[in-house]
Symmetry: C2
Subunit: 246 residues, 2 copies
DNA sequence: CGCTAATTTGACCTGGATCAACTACGGTGG
DNA sequence: CCACCGTAGTTGATCCAGGTCAAATTAGCG
């Protein structure tokens, strides 16, 4: 399984191989990274805004998010992360955190010392390229979220978010048949989209009424993929999921 | 001057040295990059959404922005760029553009072939680090813009944007004394912030009324820096302007 | 079964959007 | 030097998407 104790880094390999083909040597180098694995409860901070990071975090199982608080208890969620994601590779070059990273569900996370990551990137420029590329896709997703926040209606915005979260999971084999896990509350969706939680609820009701999706328990079922895409004006280009040579 | 024909890349050197100290050899390598310099009129696309990029763009003089269009003529501006900025280093690893890059004013831009950039990064891992870091700061700014769009009022949002644009220019010696150029229209501010142009106008009027700023011609004068920062809940950490060793 | 967190619904309110003029101003040509 | 024109800025009137507040209702979970 994903968090097999003998190959704890297999979700990372899966993720990297979904982006680029690794040579045997590269794969071996990644698998040999020193890690400290830890199981965390839901809604625990992993790294806090303002801290100096000395290691990167890798999600092995469960969901995490990056967020930042503003006065008055306002919270903006910047991204969601699933198994195989390294949510904070940026700390390699900018150790001072300008936001926080936290679990959303119970999660298994692995910590990799910066020193080991730096050494890996020096030995394998192509892995540097893949990691760098990953941070660039991250930024592309931020841009699309800005597009959603600035230009799309709340209905289209949430439709867009569902398309993205489904495809992200599908790309690493965690989803299929237009059905995936979505272990987050409506309040989380609200903080991610800049919509109030009450309005998120109403929009979801409307989408349900239109036969686009259902959302019960922690499962998102997309009943009308094409219609959802049309509603969201979704174009998956920005996710850059197509595989390439490392 | 910035676009001195004998050292066309000096704005880039200034920018890089504002981030990290370069060795003589590194500086020489950057200065030796092959470039094609071109003067462009205002509001011209430099690279378009959907294209495959084969070179990076460096702004030598003037302003540029990245943006993307949605149906119905909606435009979201993602970032503003000034002399010394490379707005599209991401195209090195993700050549397929998922947004456009355009001039805002008349601008002098230099084009650097990807091949030359790749070769530079292979020869100088520390320059790779600085460029990578630059893309990470880019992403940090995106996050802060999301925070503005999702959680701040339009008044606070624009105040925040002015703080950011002033500091960005100050960091590379293009501004001082709480005064800088801002050669963009209210409609541009609107598309960058997700506010309507009419409302931008009203907010500016209010800020003027409160004695925070004035904005005449292409000049932004911040009359009350501390008050502006307070209004914006501005914390410059996310710009990561502090210098460090390469 | 009971407790808590999450969802749902209704009623009401407001920040900011939209629509429609109107004004100011820099450039251009006569 | 002035008339004209196009772009950008300004203002008023009106509207509505989505926020806020408060009160159920429901779903999980120990």
């Amino acid at each position: 399984m994903a968090s097999n104790i003998h190959r704890p880094l297999s979700p990372l390999i899966t993720k990297l191989e979904s982006i680029a083909t690794l040579s045997t040597e590269e794969r071996h180098a990644v698998e040999s990274l020193p890690v400290r694995v830890q199981v965390m409860r839901a809604r625990q901070d992993i790294v806090c805004d303002g801290e100096m990071a000395s290691q990167c975090c890798l999600i092995l199982e469960g969901w995490a998010c990056r967020y930042k608080m503003l006065g008055e208890g306002k919270r903006q969620i910047f991204s969601f992360h699933i198994a195989g994601d390294i949510p904070d590779p940026h700390s390699l070059h900018i150790p001072l955190m300008d936001h926080s990273l936290a679990t959303m569900t119970q999660a298994t996370v692995a910590f990799i010392p910066h020193a080991a990551m730096h050494s890996l990137t020096l030995r394998f420029p192509s892995i540097t390229g893949v990691l760098w590329r990953d941070t660039l896709v991250d930024a592309a997703i931020f841009r699309e979220w800005m597009m959603c926040m600035g230009q799309r209606s709340s209905y289209n915005h949430l439709a867009h978010l569902f398309c993205e979260l489904y495809l992200k999971q599908e790309a690493v084999g965690l989803a299929g048949e237009h059905r995936c896990t979505l272990p987050i509350t409506q309040a989380d969706l609200a903080d991610a989209s800049g919509i109030s939680n009450v309005h998120v609820n109403r929009v979801l009701k409307e989408m349900r009424g239109n036969g686009l999706i259902t959302l019960h328990g922690n499962t998102l079922v997309i009943q009308a993929w094409e219609a959802l895409i049309r509603a969201a004006e979704f174009d998956e280009t920005y996710l850059h999921l197509r595989k390439r040579r490392a």
